[in-house]
C-alpha cells in the first residue's frame, strides 16, 4: 500500500484555478475523504492523483517516487466512479476480470482471483448477469470488485455512493469501510456528503473554492472547525454562528443578551482581536441546553422532532435563529420564551474579519 504525497499540486483551466496549490500527504493504509460542495476541486484533485487529469504545476509522489507524468495505467491504482462505469457489453465476471487481463495474467489465476473477490463482496450469484440487470447497489459491488481484484496500491473513489438509493447507501458505506479495514488499502474518497465523510474517513479534507479549508480527523473538523466555512458546512445543521461584540470577558449578542466568555478563553481572544472588538460566537446544537437560568433569552420559532431528539429553532432576534438540541420529553409550543446556556467546553469563537477560528494556542 502506498503513501501518496501532493506537493504544491495545482490545476488551472485557462486562467481560473480548479485546484489552488495544495500540499497533502495520505499515509499508507489511511482512508482520506475529500469533502466539499460541488465545484470545489475535490474531484479534480482525485483525478490528478489518478493521472486522468494532468497537473498544471506541482508534484505527485507515490511512496516517494515521482508519478506526476506517469500514465494512469502505470500508477497501480484503482478508480471507482460515481456511475460505476461498468461495461454493459460484458458480464459481471468479465467486468471484474478486465483489469487482470490487461496484465496478461494466466487464465486460471484470473478465474481464481475473480472468484475470491466475488466471495468477499458476496456477489458470486450475480457473476453471469450483465450490469444492466443489476440493482444500483449490486452494480457498485461489481465496480468495487473490479477495483479490488488487482490489489492496487491505492483506491480512488469518486462519490461511489452518490448514485445509490438511500437504503443502499447506508449498507454500502459500512461495506466499503469494512473492506478498507480488511484490505488495509490506502483510499482517497471524494464526497459532498458530510455525514458520509465523518462516518468513513480516518481524515477529512474539507475543500471549498479550489482551496483546502481544513485537513483533520472527523472529530477535529467537527469540533474545531478552522474557519466559518467548515463550521457551517460540517454538521447537520451546521454550527450556530452568532455575530456579537466582545468587551471585557463578555460578548454582547443580539436581543440585549450577554454571554460571559469562559475565563480560559480571555487571553486567546485578547491576542486575536483585542479587548474590544467584533466576534462571532459559535456552538453546535448539542452544546446548548435549555435552562430557565440560561444567559440567552429566545422565543421558540419552530421545532422538529427527529425521533430520538427534538431540534428547536430559537429566535434570538429577527435576524438570528439558532438550532438547539433538546430531549424529546418536553413540548415547546411556538412562541413560548426559552432560555439556554452553553457548555463552556464546547463554545468556539471566530474572527469576523478573517473568518478564521480563534484557537487556544494559535492557529496551526
Amino acid at each position: 500500500m502506498a503513501t501518496i504525497e501532493l506537493i504544491n499540486v495545482e490545476k488551472k483551466f485557462g486562467p481560473s484555478y480548479a485546484v489552488k496549490p495544495m500540499n497533502m500527504t495520505i499515509h499508507s493504509g489511511e482512508f482520506v475523504v475529500l469533502l466539499g460542495p460541488s465545484g470545489c476541486g475535490k474531484t479534480t484533485t482525485l483525478r490528478m492523483i489518478s493521472g486522468l487529469e494532468a497537473v498544471t504545476d506541482g508534484q505527485i509522489l507515490f511512496d516517494g517516487k515521482d508519478v506526476t507524468w506517469l500514465h494512469p495505467s502505470d500508477r497501480d491504482i484503482a478508480f471507482v466512479f460515481q456511475f460505476f462505469a461498468l461495461y454493459s457489453h460484458m458480464t459481471a465476471r468479465e467486468n471484474i476480470a478486465f483489469p487482470l487481463q490487461a496484465q496478461g495474467e494466466p487464465r486460471d489465476s484470473i478465474r481464481k482471483r475473480v472468484e475470491e473477490v466475488a466471495k468477499m463482496l458476496r456477489i458470486e450469484h450475480l457473476m453471469n448477469a450483465r450490469p444492466g440487470g443489476l440493482s444500483g447497489g449490486d452494480q457498485q459491488r461489481v465496480a468495487l470488485a473490479r477495483a479490488l481484484v488487482r490489489r492496487p496500491a491505492a483506491f480512488l473513489m469518486d462519490e461511489p455512493l452518490g448514485a445509490l438509493d438511500a437504503e443502499f447507501r447506508e449498507s454500502m458505506r459500512a461495506e466499503i469501510k469494512r473492506l478498507h479495514i480488511e484490505q488495509n488499502a490506502t483510499t482517497v474518497y471524494v464526497t459532498h456528503d458530510q455525514i458520509e465523510a465523518m462516518a468513513m474517513g480516518d481524515r477529512v479534507v474539507v475543500m471549498s473554492a479550489a482551496v483546502v479549508q481544513q485537513n483533520g480527523t472527523p472529530a477535529e473538523v467537527y469540533h474545531d472547525p478552522a474557519n466559518l466555512f467548515v463550521a457551517k458546512f460540517i454538521g447537520s445543521p451546521g454550527m450556530n454562528l452568532i455575530q456579537g461584540h466582545y468587551a471585557d470577558g463578555r460578548v454582547a449578542l443580539p436581543g440585549d443578551n450577554r454571554y460571559d466568555v469562559p475565563a480560559d478563553w480571555h487571553t486567546t481572544i485578547h491576542e486575536a482581536i483585542g479587548r474590544d472588538g467584533d466576534i462571532i460566537l459559535g456552538f453546535r446544537p448539542e452544546a446548548a441546553h435549555i435552562s430557565a437560568s440560561g444567559p440567552i433569552a429566545t422565543t421558540v420559532y419552530t421545532t422538529d422532532l427527529h425521533g430520538s431528539y427534538t431540534m428547536l429553532h430559537l429566535e434570538i432576534d429577527r435576524d438570528t435563529i439558532v438550532d438547539v438540541r433538546a430531549g424529546r420529553g418536553t413540548n415547546y409550543p411556538i412562541g413560548t420564551p426559552a432560555r439556554f446556556d452553553l457548555d463552556p467546553a464546547m463554545v468556539r469563537f471566530f474572527d469576523p474579519k478573517t473568518e478564521m477560528a480563534i484557537r487556544k494556542g494559535g492557529n496551526p
Binding site: S50, P72, S73, H89, A102
Partner: protein, 332 residues
Amino acid sequence: MATRASAPSAPVTISTRVDKVGLRPKVTRAIRAFVVVILTVLILLPVVWMVMTSLKSPSDVVAVPPKIIFEPSIESFIFLVTERVQFPTRQEADEFRARDDLKWYEKKVAERGQKITRVGDFPKQLRNSFIIAGTSTIFSVLFGVLSAYAFSRFKIPGEGDLLFFILSTRMLPPVAVTIPIFLMYRELGLDNTYFGLILLYTTFNLSFSVWLLKGFIDEIPKEYEEAALVDGYTRLQAFRKVVLPQAVTGIAATTVFCFIFAWNEYAFAAMLTSDATRTAPPSIPSIQGVGRIEWETIAAASLVFLLPVVIVTFALRKHLLRGVTFGAIRKG
C-alpha cells in the same frame, strides 16, 4: 366546454387523460391509422408492381389492361444474365428449338426465337457495385469512427471550425461538381477505376459518418475509457475493447446509411465508369432488349439490385431504430 366546480365523487381508477378517452382522440387515432395505411400502400405499390412485372412473361408485361393475375415466369431473370440474338428466320428458330441438347434456360429463350450468345453484363456490374459500395462503406465507417472519436474525446484546436468544414462538403448538390470532378479524374487517370469511385464515395460519406458517429460516441460516458485506462490499458486498447462495443449501434446505423448512398449513387457512376467498372445503377435503365424494350428484365434488374440493401438493413434493423432516433432517447 364549460368548466364547473365538480362535486366530490368516487375515486377515479381508470385513465382519464384527455388524449386517451373521448370522441376526438378516437377520431384522431382513426385518421392516423388511415393515413398510415394509405402511406404504406403508396410506398409499397411501386415495389409490388416491380416484383409483379419481373415475374411476368413478355406478353403479359405490355397487356392492356394490366394483368393482376398472371402465370408467373422467370424468363426475365434469364434475360437479365444473358446476352441474346434473335434468329433471323422462323425456320432457323424452329430448328434450333428442335435440338435436344438444349439446357432448360436455352429452351426458354428459344421459345422466344432467341439464342443465348454469352453471359450478360449485369452480373459483372452487380459485382462492381459490391466492390465499390462495400469498400467505400468500410472506409467511410472506419475513418469516420476514428475521427469522430478524436473529435469527441480530445481537445482539438479549432474543433468547431473543422467540424463545420467537414460538413460543408455536403452543402452543395454533388451534381454541381460533376464536371470539375470528371475533368480532374480524367487528368489523374482515376476515371473508370474502382479506386476513383471508392475515393469519391468515401469522401461524400465521410462528413456524414463523422457527424453521426460523433453523436453516438459523445453519448458514451468517458468514464468507461477512464476506467480501462486506470485498469492498465492503453488508449488504443481502451478504444477497441470499451468504446467500439458500446458504439455498435451507431456504427451499424452509419454503415447502413453509407452503404445505401454508395450503392444507389447514379450520376457519378454514369459519368466516371464505363464497361469494366460500370456499376449497376447506371446500367439498369440502359438495358438493351432484343427487338423491344424488355420491361420485365428491367424490373428483374431493379429487384435484384434492391435485395442487398434490404438484406443489410434487415440484418441491422435492431440497431437502426435507435440509430435514426439517436439523441432523442437517453440511455437508462
